[in-house]
């Protein structure tokens, strides 16, 4: 056999072979054909750069950005040819942008390196040359024998060789991989299971042959060949032999395993999608707008060039006597001149593409994202965790979400089940202080007294504590391998593990009530009823299956009676009962269900000796049948589970996280569709879905489950589609499971999407991690291209988190994989509402206005320049001085928009949260629609025309003359010159553009006041300063005293005022009419606030009122910047503005209540 494999391998190049051959402990055969295979090492790499490739790779990535590349080109053009502006004007900002971005990205990558090193450097124990060696995780090679101790995670995908148990089993939990918290038993093959020590492992001669790595967590095919005394024994290996990286060893002292898949080839790593750069919708539209502006720019440049040559066709224009050309200019070729003219125009107009847009956007995102981490409403007190922002690039995407994909376990639920109520023999009971109390009665037993249970009650509790498949994990210190530890130490050392959290909750509940399940050893189950130990012999387990939806055990009681306990869904147990309080119980079960509890019905059946013999025989026959075993088993089960005596019903609460229902409801009102994707069973998933309000009781629930073939699946889909069409009044919910989903996606994607879209809620269960990602991708790439958000807490959610537009990690119990790979991390699901409805809304409005405004102000900026060309023979004369050209975007107009984009609040956060429907106002990127873009652009052009022609005309109706007097020194009428004209246009522009933003601002904090008025003031001060000095390093002194000359003219002031007002006048009119005639719901809700009288007018007054205001300014600043601790607050917050008060409770009050304070 071995030789055959060797031959196979010998012929096939190693990396292409379909299987990999792993020599355990890397003991390669001494002789024969052997070709070593190359395997990846056990290093996990999530970082993007290394020290060596950072500079080139980062530069390359940055210049892939269209704007950066564009500015690089402009810069190069300026270097090469004679252009109106110097290369510094574009080179300096570009350098600044590139450096800032590189530093930011470098820092982020450094953090990733750190995280990787932590994982890769974790200590592990490996068997090397006969002894146990401690080494780092990254040093594990394929073939190494690794020792893992209890509660450690597996550092690589291992094939289990042996455990400390004789039978070679171990328990693991895969919570961080697929979210399942139950214990799973994995096995070693008997031949290796005996090698429990290092020395014996040393003697082990074995080869594992298995498939090449693949992402499916539940598939593993291989075989192990063990050579014992010269004899080769071949055993098949399956998923039950494979311990996956990321899973955790439980309940087992230690195991030895051989690494088969390491590092990036482990199944866990393969399930991670490589982290791709996420781009927000805003950034995409920004790029579209940039391209449009590029087209405008090219158009303007080409038009100017053509007109220039049309103009210059006549010699008298081309070269008048006063403006002779140099020889060189005359002799250069026409084509070259044409090209260089075109490029010069390109350079002249290049500022229409706002370079500082990217810097400002990046700064806005970076600084703005702090507000998420700072938000007390997103802070979880119990776990002391605040919201965390991993990528600030996506802030605004939070305001655009249309689909939310959420994990169930640990995200919607706390991952904790709790027993709440039960019904025994027609009487309802509640658990109060660990005692079973009939409904309507109070806990009147004094603590400590032993309650007297009726026979029914006791039987019920016993049934519950015996009919399950719960396993027990004991503390390491004692009793390993001993299923029945000492009686006194039970509670502190025992932990239940169950595949179903319900069972665990039930067994724990009965333990609290006095009937304690102590353990089972395969044959016996032991319970302790009020200290009395009872041993039951386990005769048969009738396992749970999804069709029967119940499970049973057959036990022999200490008294020798044979009894069957059954537990299952009410619909699958009640029909088979014939005695007991059936009607009352049914009533109770419905009540439980209405309360959102997960219900189970418990029943029993006593067998007579003959009956049991019959049962035993039938079961044995069925189990050993070679053909149609499943049918025969089902038959046998049906025969056994009948004529039941109803004992009662249980109601277990799957403890949902706080306010999940409200959150989901809010999301739905906000127009967001919520999909639950879970790896869990369908039953559990549906019941959680119901209890968290994802599915309503009134919903018609459609099922697409357990489809085995393609055609069947298609048929079912068509049936569902038809049902939806027929019945469009009520809402539909869809349940899909993983296998059916993959069938549906393979061939009938369209049909499936159609069904999904008409369902108001979708639940996908039994999903593998990659399948979750696939569902997300399916939605993402559907024709409407909706914005998706994935939220989850486990490693199994990582791929979905990475796939979705926005990935949110819950800082839960299942490790920090999800958090690490998420874009945002929050502590609880309920925080999602505020994150989306408030922060998302704010960020979106802020950035959308920021983007539009940037384009607007650059159109305003450059269009006069373009118009000026018509008056200067298209000679590329700049209208503004180059210092103004450079500083316009960097200094004069940058801060107001940055502050606006950090602090703007169109609506009060509390209104946003209480009215989720406002979220719809901004959906589908509405503020960046082509219409609004066109509005802003046209506005920019209109304003530019007014600036230019206003200045043109107002400076002298004689069309040409700059006749102007000075107020200060009357009797003078000097000429202005071109720089003064340009400065007039520029002054008007700076003021208008700043005031336009002031019109847009709805939330005037003192900072807005400061930067808005400050920017204008700064412009004036700077201009006075800049024009007031002969700059020694500048070659031309064009701007010397130009600004003072301009301001000393009275009509210039009048001109500035009238031009600014003319520009803003239509805008104000438009705003007023829109607000009054067609108010959006956002605007309507702004009114709510006003009526509450929140206006803090003094935020403005303190800056504009002069002396009295300034006195208050001091106090104000102290208040704002200083911490508002309670004592201080009561002193300093005036009564007139209750909303500024520091009492957080006010934020949660409804508008009506708000008036009280």
């Amino acid at each position: 056999m071995l030789r055959w494999i060797r031959q196979q391998l010998g012929f096939d190049p190693p990396h292409q072979s379909e299987t990999r051959t792993v020599y355990i402990a890397n003991r390669f055969p001494q002789h024969g054909h052997y070709v070593p295979q190359k395997f990846a090492d056990n290093r996990i790499i999530s970082s993007k750069y290394t020290i060596w490739n950072f500079v080139p790779k980062n530069l390359f990535e940055q210049f892939r950005r269209i704007a950066n590349f564009y500015f690089l080109i402009i810069f190069l053009v300026q270097l090469m040819i004679d252009t109106p502006t110097s290369p510094v004007t574009s080179g300096l900002p570009l350098f600044f942008v590139i450096t800032v971005t590189a530093i930011k990205q470098g820092y982020e990558d450094w953090l990733r390196h750190k995280a990787d090193n932590e994982v890769n450097g974790a200590p592990v124990f490996v068997v090397r040359s006969g002894s146990l060696v401690q080494t780092r995780s990254k040093n594990i090679r394929v073939g190494d024998i690794v020792r893992v101790a209890k509660d450690e995670t597996f550092p690589a995908d291992l094939v289990l060789l042996s455990s400390d148990r004789a039978e070679g089993t171990c328990h693991i939990t895969t919570a961080s991989l697929d979210g399942e918290t139950n214990l799973k038993t994995h096995y070693a093959v008997p031949e290796t299971a005996v090698s429990q020590s290092v020395s014996r492992l040393e003697a082990l001669q074995a080869v594992v042959e298995c498939q090449q790595p693949e992402a499916d967590l539940y598939r593993f095919v291989g075989r192990i060949t063990v050579t014992q005394q010269g004899e080769e024994i071949v055993r098949p290996l399956g998923p039950e032999n494979l311990l996956l990286r990321g899973a955790r060893l439980k309940n087992t002292k230690e195991i030895f395993g051989v690494a088969v898949y390491t590092g990036m080839e482990s199944k866990m790593a393969l399930n991670y999608k490589c982290k791709s750069q996420k781009r927000s919708a805003v950034e995409k539209s920004m790029n579209t707008f940039l391209i449009i502006y590029l087209v405008i720019l090219l158009f303007e440049a080409i038009l100017s060039t053509i007109l220039k040559y049309a103009w210059q066709a006549e010699n008298k224009w081309d070269e008048p006597f006063y403006n002779q050309k140099t020889e060189q200019e005359r002799n250069s070729s026409q084509i070259l001149k044409f090209i260089s003219d075109f490029l010069a125009f390109l350079v002249l107009y290049n500022f229409i593409i706002p370079i500082s847009l990217y810097v400002t956007v990046e700064m806005q995102k970076f600084l703005g994202s702090f507000f998420i981490g700072w938000d007390l409403d997103l802070y979880h007190e119990e776990s002391d965790q605040k919201a965390q922002v991993n990528t600030s690039d996506l802030n605004e995407e939070l305001g655009q979400v249309e689909y939310v994909f959420t994990d169930k376990t640990g995200t919607l639920t706390e991952n904790e089940m709790q027993f709440r109520e039960c019904s025994i023999n027609g009487i309802k009971y509640q658990e109060i202080n660990g005692k079973l109390v009939p409904e309507g009665m109070t806990d009147d037993f004094p603590d400590g007294s032993v309650p007297h249970l009726s026979r029914e009650e006791e039987l019920f509790l016993k049934a519950v504590s015996l009919c399950h498949t719960v396993q027990i994990s004991y503390d390491q210190t004692d009793g390993v391998g001993d299923p029945f530890p000492r009686a006194n130490g039970i509670s502190s050392q025992m932990e239940y593990y169950a595949s179903s959290p319900d069972e665990k909750a039930l067994v724990e509940a009965t333990k609290r009530m006095g009937v304690t399940f102590i353990g089972s050893n395969g044959e016996n189950m032991e319970i302790k009823t009020f200290g009395r130990s009872e041993k039951y012999k386990l005769l048969h387990v009738l396992e749970f299956d999804a069709n029967r939806r119940r499970m049973s055990v057959i036990l022999q009681s200490p008294s020798g009676d044979k009894v069957l306990f059954t537990k299952g869904a009410e619909s699958s147990v009640l029909p088979y009962t014939k005695s007991g309080e059936i009607d009352k119980t049914r009533l109770h079960v419905d009540e439980f269900a209405l309360k959102g509890l997960r219900t189970l019905v418990v029943a029993c059946r006593h067998f007579s000796a003959e009956e049991y013999e019959e049962v035993d025989r039938r079961l044995h026959e069925a189990r050993t049948a070679l053909q149609q075993r499943e049918e025969r088993l089902a038959e046998a089960f049906a025969f056994i589970e009948r004529d039941l005596q109803l004992l009662g019903a249980t109601g277990v609460e799957d403890k949902l996280q706080e306010k999940v229902q409200e959150t989901i409801e809010a999301l739905r009102l906000a127009g967001i569709k919520v999909w639950v994707l879970t790896g869990d069973k369908m039953e559990t998933a549906v019941s959680v879905s119901l209890s968290c309000g994802h599915f309503h009781r009134t919903m018609n629930i459609l099922e697409l489950v357990q489809q085995k073939s393609d055609s069947e699946c298609a048929e079912q889909l068509r049936r569902l589609a038809r049902r939806i069409k027929e019945d469009h009044v009520i809402q539909h919910g869809l349940v899909v499971d993983g296998t059916s989903l993959s069938l549906a996606l393979r061939e009938h994607e369209k049909l499936f999407m159609e069904v999904c879209r008409s369902c108001s809620a979708v639940l996908c269960c039994r999903m593998a991690p990659l399948q979750k990602a696939k569902v997300v991708r399916l939605l993402k790439t559907s024709p409407e291209k909706p914005i998706t958000l994935a939220i989850g807490d486990g490693a199994n959610d990582v791929s979905m988190i990475q796939e979705a537009h926005v990935g949110i990690g819950i800082m839960g119990k299942e490790g920090r994989q999800a958090v690490r790979n998420s874009d945002y991390a929050i502590a609880r699901f309920k925080f999602l509402a505020k994150l989306l409805l408030v922060h998302g809304h704010f960020y979106y409005i802020r950035i959308a206005t920021l983007v539009q405004y940037f384009f607007y102000k650059n159109v305003c900026f450059i269009t006069p320049q373009f118009l000026y060309q018509f008056f200067c023979l298209f000679s590329q004369q700049t209208l503004y001085d180059s210092v103004y050209l450079t500083l316009y975007n960097i200094c004069f107009t940058s801060l107001p928009i940055l502050v606006y984009s950090l602090f703007e609040q169109l609506v009060h956060p509390h209104v946003l949260q209480s009215k989720p429907a406002l979220y719809r106002d901004i959906s589908k990127n509405s503020l960046l629609s082509f219409k609004t873009f066109l509005y802003w652009t046209l506005l920019g052009f209109c304003h530019a025309f007014v600036f230019f022609f206003g200045s043109y005309i107002l400076m002298g109706e004689d069309t040409s003359l700059m006749g102007n007097g000075q107020i200060l020194k009357a009797n003078r009428q000097l000429m202005f010159g071109n720089w003064t004209f340009g400065t007039l246009v520029f002054t008007v522009m700076v003021i208008t553009v700043t005031l336009k933003l002031a019109l847009e601002t709805h939330f005037w904090t003192w900072m807005n006041h400061f930067v808005t008025w400050g920017s204008i003031a700064f412009y004036f001060i700077f201009s006075l300063f800049y024009g007031g000095i002969i700059w020694p390093f500048l070659h031309t002194q064009d701007m010397y005293f130009v600004f003072v000359q301009l301001l000393s003219s009275g009509s210039a002031w009048f001109a500035i005022i009238i031009i600014v007002l003319t520009c803003l006048f239509p805008d104000v009119i438009k705003k007023v009419f829109y607000r009054h005639l067609q108010p959006t719901s956002t605007q309507k809700s702004q009114l709510i606030e006003t009526h509450q009288g929140i206006s803090c007018v003094d935020s403005m007054c303190c800056l504009s009122e002069g002396e009295s205001g300034c006195a208050r300014l001091g106090r104000m600043v102290e208040r704002l910047i200083g911490r508002c601790d309670p004592t201080r607050v009561s002193r300093s917050w005036s009564d007139s503005d209750p909303f500024c008060s520091n009492d957080r409770s006010i934020l949660t009050l409804s508008p009506v209540e708000g008036s009280r304070c």
Partner: protein
Amino acid sequence: MMKKKEETANRPDNTAFTQQRLPAWQPMLSAGIVIPGFLLIGMAFIGIGVALFLTSQNIQVLERDYTGDESDSPCNTCTHSSPNCNCMLNFTLSKLFEGPVFFYYGLSNYYQNYRRYGVSRDDSQLSGDLTYFKNPDSNCAPYRVDSNSVPIVPCGSIANSMFNDTFRLYHIVNGKEKEVPFDGKGIAWWTDYNVKFRNPSLVNGTLKAAFDGTVKPINWPKPAYELDPNDSSNNGFLNQDFLVWMRAAALPDFRKLYRRITQGDYAAGLPAGNYSLKITYNYPVLSFGGRKKIVLSNVSWMGGKNQFLGIAYLVIGSLCVVMSMVMLIVYAKFKFPDDSS
């Protein structure tokens, strides 16, 4: 206490800033504010507009084209003849032209704002820096050095193309010409005259020596140091006509201040009567389709004649008033929701 602190170590600060609860003024453009606001602004603008318009109306302007391309133009003969051709332009003032009167020359179709033209100067040279006398800025090409590679001072196209027509104004009193005194001082920017432009320091007590090793601009009849040999404060780079010319115009049709009439009998203005303007016609404009003119104008508190400014104020002011009326009507009709309370 200590433990409690540790437990909430990550708790964000509860300040107005971090919680985005900064006190803020939240203005809304509601009809209640906008209607009276517009009304007020409109009224104010109309007032300003009327004032500006009336002021502008009172300004007297007299313009005469003397390009001479039409055959009946007095300067027609000079368009073809040699330099320093004289021609007379006669005009009559029907009433007193109130002083102070400003005398301009105007050029049209003249692109002083052409980029290559605009940069063709050397500010360092003009500030009297002798190193730039020897080596003028490269932007001055083709007027940087002459054919013998001797540097031109002042270099560049602007200086080279300096306007060189001269004017004398005569008042015809009783058939006799009485010269109206022109004031050539204070026609340039104060800062240009006093700071930005400097003559080189005198060598051996003469300006001429400072210009040694340089040649005059090609088109100039005489070098810079002879621009006004009578007045050293108006000579060289400080010649005010030169300064006025060096301030490039923004637009192709421009006028530049030539002289002021502030002295003698004419300080109060030009009395009604006949006047004769003697023009020394040197500057060629017909080659590029340009025109030349002279302008006489007086000035008000808000500057030169500018009717459009007043009109603009009137238009915008009335628009404001009209819009506030429209809004009031809409307001009454639709009963704005936000003013219901």
